[in-house]
């Protein structure tokens, strides 16, 4: 079962990644020791892969003491869903998949309703419904502080009101690594064990620990069309194509993964992890640039978070 890890290289001091990993494990165990019904939100992306890997380390040899939950908008890349099911079976995970039934009924989708409505109904509302349905009092997420300016402000243990709202102006102090997990009635906690990891840390850790990731992160010839200045992959036939749309086959990869109509690809020849890391070091844009939802307005992520978006 166990193979020796590449990140613990020195007997007298911990490498940077080993230290980050140990701190994240501490956070996982603290939540399990102090909350009643935790869950891990699993988005299938690279950060989720790292999160899952560390969770398995934290509780080894015991199985994960909490379920995973994927909020399925029904617009994820096909390869993501295949990867999710494969990982769940392989590791014997308790994987809850939840879709907003009301949104499904109304056939909400990014092409027909726009990205804002789609994200709100199928992601934000769906998440709130699922948390209420299962009465989870703590939810792990893979967000990092280096992703975005309002994330940079968020605590590792971040409280949500009964209405799932974040009050950024009134966060509890968070001192040392002593975490106050006391909740008021109806409150829940979002916990971010990867808060202090950077994008480079994540990739390097995936590389050294040989963590499986969705193949969409690596470059491959894929069919894409240009929409709003982004390269959108034609993942299925729900994609409306007009006469002027040209489907090209380009060698592309994705820096982040989400709903395929909202996720921009980048042209790349990077077919290996070192090549990805190399490209990342040279890039001049942030990883969130490939996401449509972040760019509508200066404080948009903060507002979405206040409304309950993860």
């Amino acid at each position: 079962m166990s193979q020796s890890s590449l990140i613990h290289t020195s007997p007298s001091s911990l490498t940077h990644l080993a230290q980050l990993e140990a701190d994240s494990i501490h956070i996982f165990r603290e939540v399990v020791a102090e909350t009643d019904n935790p869950v891990m939100l699993y988005s299938i992306g690279k950060d989720s892969s790292v999160l899952l890997h560390i969770a398995r380390k934290a509780f080894y040899p015991a199985p994960l003491p909490f379920p995973l939950m994927h909020i399925d908008t029904t617009w994820k890349f096909k390869e993501m869903i295949a990867f999710r099911d494969h990982i769940a079976a392989d590791y014997g995970l308790n994987m809850i998949v939840y879709t907003n039934p009301d949104g499904l009924e109304r056939q909400i989708g990014p092409f027909t309703h726009g990205s804002a409505v789609h994200t709100d109904v199928m992601k934000t509302q769906a998440l709130k419904q699922a948390l209420d349905k299962y009465q989870f009092d703590a939810a792990f997420g893979g967000a990092r502080r280096d992703e975005e300016k309002s994330r940079a402000k968020e605590r590792i243990f971040s409280f949500r009101s009964a209405q799932h709202r974040w009050d950024p102006k009134n966060q509890r102090p968070e001192l040392w690594s002593i975490y106050n997990t006391k909740k008021n009635p109806g409150e829940s906690i979002r916990v971010f064990p990867l808060s202090n990891w950077t994008e480079l840390d994540i990739w390097q850790y995936i590389y050294l620990e040989k963590i499986p990731i969705v193949p969409l992160y690596l470059a491959k010839p894929r069919p894409v069309v240009r929409k709003n200045g982004m390269l959108i992959m034609v993942d299925d036939d729900r994609m409306p194509l007009s006469d002027t749309d040209v489907v090209e086959t380009l060698s592309v990869r994705f820096r982040t993964l989400g709903c395929y109509p909202l996720t921009g690809a980048i042209v790349s020849e990077a077919t290996t992890l070192p090549a990805i890391i190399h490209e990342m070091l040279l890039t001049k844009t942030s990883e969130r640039q490939g996401r449509l939802i972040d760019s509508d307005g200066g404080a948009s992520m903060e507002i979405k978070k206040q409304e309950g978006y993860f």
Binding site: L14, L175, L200, S286
Partner: protein, 602 residues
Amino acid sequence: MASVPENMVDIHQYLDQHQHKELLRFITCGSVDDGKSTLIGRLLYESAFIYEDQLASLKTDSKKMGTQGDDIDFALLVDGLAAEREQGITIDVAYRFFSTDKRKFIVADTPGHEQYTRNMATGASTADVAVVLVDARHGIMTQTKRHSMIVRLLGVNRVILAINKMDLMDYSKTVYDGIVGDYAAFANGQGIDFVAIPLAALKGENILRRGDSLSWYDGPTLMGYLETVPLPVNRRDHAFSMPVQWVNRPDLNFRGFTGQITTGTIAVGDSIRVLPAGTQTRVESIVTFDGHLDRAICGQSITITVADDVDMSRGDIMVGEGHAVVVGQRCKATLLWMSESALVPGKLYWFKTRAKLVLGRIQAPDHLINVNTGATMMGSVMQVNDIGDCVCEWDQPIPMEPYTSNAPLGSFIVIDRDTNNTVGMGLVRSISGQGEWASRHVKERHRHWSQGRVSVTHRVKRNRHKPIMVVLTGIVPRDRYAAVGTAIEEALFQDDIQAYRYGFQFMRQADATESSIGALRQDMFRQLFDIGYAFMDAGMVFITAIRGLTVSECHELKTIVDPFDIIIVDLDGTNGMLQTVCNADVVSADEALPHIQRQLRH
């Protein structure tokens, strides 16, 4: 930014180097508007840690809400909340990440407003180095001192005094020297070691590159200093300590104790002690997902299995040989109060340490610290943002060590039971071991004792009853103690028992305002317990009253009057803890008399 490799061969070398770079965590702090966020924004910008899309939105935002006309307002890079951008201030701490060829950095940009001191403390609690900013126009302010004091308290030993906005003071060396002198006068008294650097954050002078107008300054730039300042000493060389965080018990064949090592190292075969119980055992294996380890070091999160079937659970602490952890129920701590509602002495609060959550009370502060002078001052009320020394007491003994020698085991947070908010942070100064002074006192008494030929045994035979101490407690009106005590004394006397009610009643003030109440109280207890001991040695029943007897006092009482028995009469029904925790014999007022009579003939 760290230079990027040209080709694929170098990438492995780059990653290897990146992984082994040292990490330095620092904060920016100081008074309102001194330019902290501008400094960090500028530093990220100059070290190329800003992506093009981020820079584009920074430029738009600067035009829309910035303070800089058409220029970039660098503070907007870190002031990420809508409310902060609207008001042009920092409300909460922002964490940013960058690296150079030499080191990696995590910087926490903290707010200057006094109202948000708790957020500043949040950032400072995990920092190695503090950059204290000063506006060259205003010099040292109260907030400059408050932040410096918090930083010092938390054990951040490296302070950089960054004198900013030099451009607005004509880059004057005289102004700079004046401020350095003022700060030195304050810092020397506080034991704060600092270096000073003149800056113009807005213009990027002396951040990465030297300022042309600051040619009179020949010290390092800010980045030059951050890249070379020695890191704090690793806690690896201390004795081993690790709080048990969670017991891993997937099936009957495995029982592992998980935790993150707080100090020292541990190896298979090492003998360890489990505190507070003091049980001894041996490390059988160190289990990780990546295989068994022979040894593990400070900072690692591991799972330990032990050789014996010892009782160990969350909150216990494993320690190795030579450790300095003390098990105690009471400590002296420096507190920073962080709630708008003042500290209520004697109120029950939650305390959370690195290891566990316990209930406890805080006594009125011995003194507060004047943040302007650093001097101690009298004061009995702790308000928001006050710093002071208090005695804290828990409902159970917990293992602790002073903050200065083992920060993870010497720190705690205080949680209000009504709001669930974190209302205070505490740094342990000293721990009174469980009944430590009491056992010292017993030894001392023994040394001076001369035993006569008539012993207690003879007296028991003559009196036909045992000597016993009866302590009335609870929080009830004063005359109730006297009424119950007198009734018991009288009834026993009628029953031919040698009983004496000691008329002195220990009525502690619930809202004690006396400054050195701790020492005074200890004195009075010693006297009271000694008198009780003498009466029992004389074969008698000794009746007394102590308002609100605490668990640790009960322990001390037991130690001092040992081997005699104690019966505690619980007048308000809230003292079950004395039975469960101290194993004391607790009865209600109604049952008291028959119970005492039974025990006397026992």
